[in-house]
């Protein structure tokens, strides 16, 4: 981890070696760039030269990709790259002061690299340790429960240039914090059991199922080994809906992929979306830690049902530290004939899973952006139609599902659709993992059958004097106390899993402002309304925070919201105003306290705008100042 940057001469063969490890495949560009970044600390012009030559790809393409992802850098960074998680929950736990402490201690400005290239310190979007914050990443390794003492220890380790791998192990302990387990987390799962059950079901389903089974693993196989269609039927009967938040019916997605025409030389693809980027969410981290077999088996079940032969887990860059243990599980499954060629000993039953890492881009959680990223490109959401089920990864039929969806699919394969459909509510079958964080006694993961009320969760986690709950993160909804009897379910409050609690001491305006900053940082920049609109919105919220807001700014926020909702390319833009709109509607006093001005006020500090002239002239007389509060008073 801790490395001195290789010389130019040394770097060339190293980069060429990385390219070779990836088979010289340009569609693995992002993975290659990640490896170069870890090796050299940045993507230098020399590295781009080598890459361009080895992959026969123009440097514009390489720099285009490298420039898109937060964790890749085209400029040199410190040998220690420290990124503080900047979710609102980290801030509530004092992250801002801790980062300032580290910056002061190491004599480095936020966002800059220290002179001798030792260290760079900055913020990053939520790293998914909200239940054990404040958190940071140091050279890709995650650390939680930061305290002033720990910060001082880190400063000392950096100053004395101790390699990160040699830092005390206890710094890097991540807890699962499972507070309530239900069908998924409590499952005592035997690897292979779900696949065996699916296969058994095929026999029970009889010959009739075989007819529709021509485009699957079983193609050309002797009768009696059928079952994908039966598996698909179980998924449909289970009424399983996607756990990424949108709640699309999984069975329909799988069926569309299964039925998509497959040109010669193409294959169907199963992608597990583990790009858990919504601030406040961390349930996929726990699911992958606790139940990796269930997730991988769910993917294999999906491959079985749709006839896919290739699978990917797109793991967010922030969770890179999970990779070794996931690779171990994959290797064991290959050994046990649960992955690879001839799964369960069935000739032709081929499916394997490869882990791809993201590199710090929330928008890649959007399925078409995720596919672009998997192809080694900038994570820009595609124009749709066509949809991924027909034209996904490298234009092949592809399903993209959430980690939790695959885990549920494995249980459905094991116990049957009827069993699953009986859990939860009528329109929301099964259970939901909630990532509970913020103001409560027992943060962590709570798995409940759908239909659990906000109040039940609050009682269970020991939250008191609750002012608001942000469900499903910034792009979700902000729930006020009079709505606490509403329930988590697709028919009431759908969620991808974040459940962030704010007690009465919290300023809901600052919560919304943090979320607006998040969207501005994560906008991919493809479409005009989101690229510019999120920046305009951020500026307006900052203006309100400075006490310069007026009703005029309010009206502007509302107009921007309308524009973002109607004109944006993808969900990021559509939902970027949600936190502001929700909090304005439900916590208006927090905004009114900010609306110090009755009339139009400038967006910038007028007196500050004379600062350079004052400095250069040495003047400080009355005429060398402007009073900002006079604004544009009519």
């Amino acid at each position: 981890m801790h490395c001195l940057e290789p010389s130019e001469a040394a770097l060339r063969p190293l980069v060429a070696g990385i390219v070779a490890q990836h088979g010289g495949d340009a569609s693995r560009m992002l993975q290659i760039l990640r490896d170069i970044q870890s090796l050299a600390g940045w993507i230098s012009p020399v590295a781009v030269d080598v890459l361009s030559a080895e992959l026969a790809v123009p440097r514009t393409k390489i720099e285009g990709v490298a420039g898109f992802y937060s964790f890749l850098s085209l400029q040199p960074r410190g040998r220690y790259r420290i990124l503080f998680s900047d979710n609102i929950t980290d801030r509530m736990l004092g992250s801002t002061a801790l980062m300032a402490r580290l910056c002061n201690s190491l004599w480095v400005e936020q966002g800059k690299t220290s002179e001798e290239g030792l260290v760079s310190i900055d913020t990053t979007s939520c790293t998914g340790l909200c239940d054990q914050g404040p958190a940071l990443l140091v050279n890709n390794r995650a650390m939680g429960r930061l305290t002033a003492e720990r910060i001082d220890q880190i400063a000392e380790l950096v100053r004395s240039e101790v390699a990160v791998d040699a830092w005390p192990d206890e710094f890097f302990i991540i807890d699962d914090n499972v507070q309530r387990a239900d069908i998924l987390l409590a499952a005592d799962f035997q690897p292979g059991a779900a696949l065996q059950a699916a296969r058994q079901r095929a026999h029970a389903a009889g010959e009739g199922m075989m007819a529709s089974n021509t485009r699957s693993w079983r193609e050309g196989l002797p009768a009696g080994l059928g079952g994908p269609a039966a598996m698909l039927d179980e998924i449909k009967r289970a009424n399983l809906r996607g756990r990424g938040g949108a709640g699309f019916t999984t069975g329909l997605k799988w069926e569309a992929c299964r039925n998509a025409p497959l040109p010669a030389g193409q294959q169907r693809i199963v992608v597990c979306n583990a790009d858990e980027g919504e601030p406040g969410t961390f349930k996929d981290r726990v699911l992958l830690t606790r139940q990796a077999d269930l997730v991988f088996e769910g993917m294999t079940v999906a491959a079985y049902a749709v006839g896919a032969t290739r699978g990917f887990v797109y793991l967010r860059g922030e969770y890179a530290y999970l990779r070794p243990q996931l690779e171990t599980v994959l290797a064991r499954r290959r050994q046990d004939k649960l992955l690879g060629r001839d799964i369960l000993g069935i000739p032709g039953a081929d499916f394997d899973i490869e882990i791809h890492l993201g590199a710090g881009a929330y928008v890649c959680g959007e399925e078409s952006a995720l596919i672009e990223s998997l192809e080694g490109k900038r994570g820009t959401p595609r124009n749709r139609p066509p949809f991924p089920v027909t034209n996904g990864y490298l234009d092949q039929p592809t399903i993209v599902n959430n980690v939790e969806t695959f885990a549920a699919a494995a249980l459905i394969a094991l116990h049957g659709g009827d069993w699953y459909a009986a859990i939860g509510t009528r329109h929301s079958a099964g259970s939901k993992l909630l990532s509970v964080a913020g103001d409560c006694a027992r943060p962590g993961i709570y798995e409940y059958p759908f239909g659990v009320s906000i109040r039940q969760v609050l009682d269970a986690c020991g939250a008191t004097k609750v002012q608001a709950v942000q469900v499903s993160g910034p792009s979700g909804i902000c729930v006020a106390p009079n709505e606490f009897d509403r329930v988590i379910a697709f028919e009431d409050i759908p969620t991808a899993g974040a459940f962030t609690i704010f007690d009465s001491t919290r300023d809901m305006f600052e919560v919304a402002r943090n979320y607006v900053h998040f969207f501005q940082h994560e906008s991919c920049g493809f479409c005009t309304p989101c690229r510019v609109g999120t920046s305009l919105l951020k500026n307006l919220m900052d203006k309100l925070a400075r006490g310069c807001g007026s009703p005029y700014d309010f009206a502007e926020i509302e107009k921007l919201n309308q524009l973002l909702q109607s004109m944006s390319h993808c969900g990021l833009g559509h939902t970027a105003c949600n936190p502001v709109l929700d909090t304005i509607a439900k916590f208006r006093p927090a905004y009114e306290a900010r609306m110090m001005q009755r009339d139009f006020t400038p967006a910038f500090d007028l007196d500050q705008a004379l600062s350079q002239a004052r400095q250069m002239t040495g003047r400080d007389d009355a005429a060398a100042h402007l009073q900002s509060e006079q604004g544009g008073a009519v």
Binding site: T60, G64, N383
Partner: protein, 238 residues
């Protein structure tokens, strides 16, 4: 007979596979756009061509026309939002029309005229973007870039060169050129490239040709953008 859809009450016929924007253009109906160019694959990023299809907003340049669709385009609600988009583009970059050689030839400017943009409305970002004058025949003024990616597509798809690309993310998205030095002179860009001729604004400019056409004689001085079309004619007549 070709199938039709309805655009602002008018029946527009379309060929299978055509987008709403292509079919409208064929029929002589103007839908404002900046990142769309008939010779290239639609991009769908500027969002100026947003229309309402059966009540739902979508980009006309990427949406396939379908039988019986009801499309709204030239109405105040949508035009006001398009105007806001042009205002966003104006404040995002540094667009000083009086000193820009592209003035009078510029699609962004002409589209803003068409939409009645009287001011940029928002607070200016005044970004700091360097000019690249390294190439003997062409100047790159990134201050005016609206990230439409037409030059990217032209260089990649027609010239086969990949001279241009977008890098960065979000508000930091920016145009780059294919040279380690970052200078156009060090790329294989040529004045005869398609990419040299597609910029809708004043980023990619031939040197020593500026202001050759006097004010009043420039294309958009003489004819407003979209004016040759029936929508414009109807608008004038009303």
């Amino acid at each position: 007979m070709n199938p039709t859809f309805e655009l602002d009450g008018q029946a527009i016929s379309f060929a299978e596979g055509q987008t709403i924007l292509q079919a409208a253009t064929t029929a002589g109906v103007y839908i404002p756009h900046l990142c769309y160019h008939p010779e290239f694959k639609p991009h769908g990023s500027c969002k100026l061509c947003t229309v309402k299809v059966n009540g739902r907003q979508t980009a006309a340049c990427t949406m396939r026309a379908a039988l019986g669709m009801k499309v709204e385009s030239n109405c105040e609600e949508i035009n006001a939002e398009r105007r806001a988009l042009t205002q966003m583009l104006f404040v995002e970059g540094n667009h000083f029309c009086p000193s820009c050689e592209k003035s009078g030839h510029c699609q962004l400017q002409a589209t803003a005229y068409h939409l009645g943009m009287m001011s940029p409305h928002y607070d200016h970002f005044f970004p700091n973007r360097a000019v690249d004058a390294s190439h003997p025949e062409f100047l790159l003024d990134f201050n005016r870039c609206i990230l439409c990616s037409l030059c990217v597509r032209a260089s990649r798809d027609v010239d086969g060169k990949n001279v241009f690309a977008l890098s960065g993310r979000g508000i930091k998205t920016h145009l780059i050129v294919n040279a380690r030095s970052g200078r156009l002179a060090d790329t294989d860009f040529a004045a005869t490239d398609k990419a040299a001729a597609v910029c809708p604004v004043g980023v990619i400019l031939p040197k020593r040709q500026g202001f050759a056409v006097p004010i009043g004689e420039r294309p958009y001085d003489k004819v407003a953008i979209g004016a040759a079309t029936t929508v414009r004619a109807e608008e004038e007549a009303s």
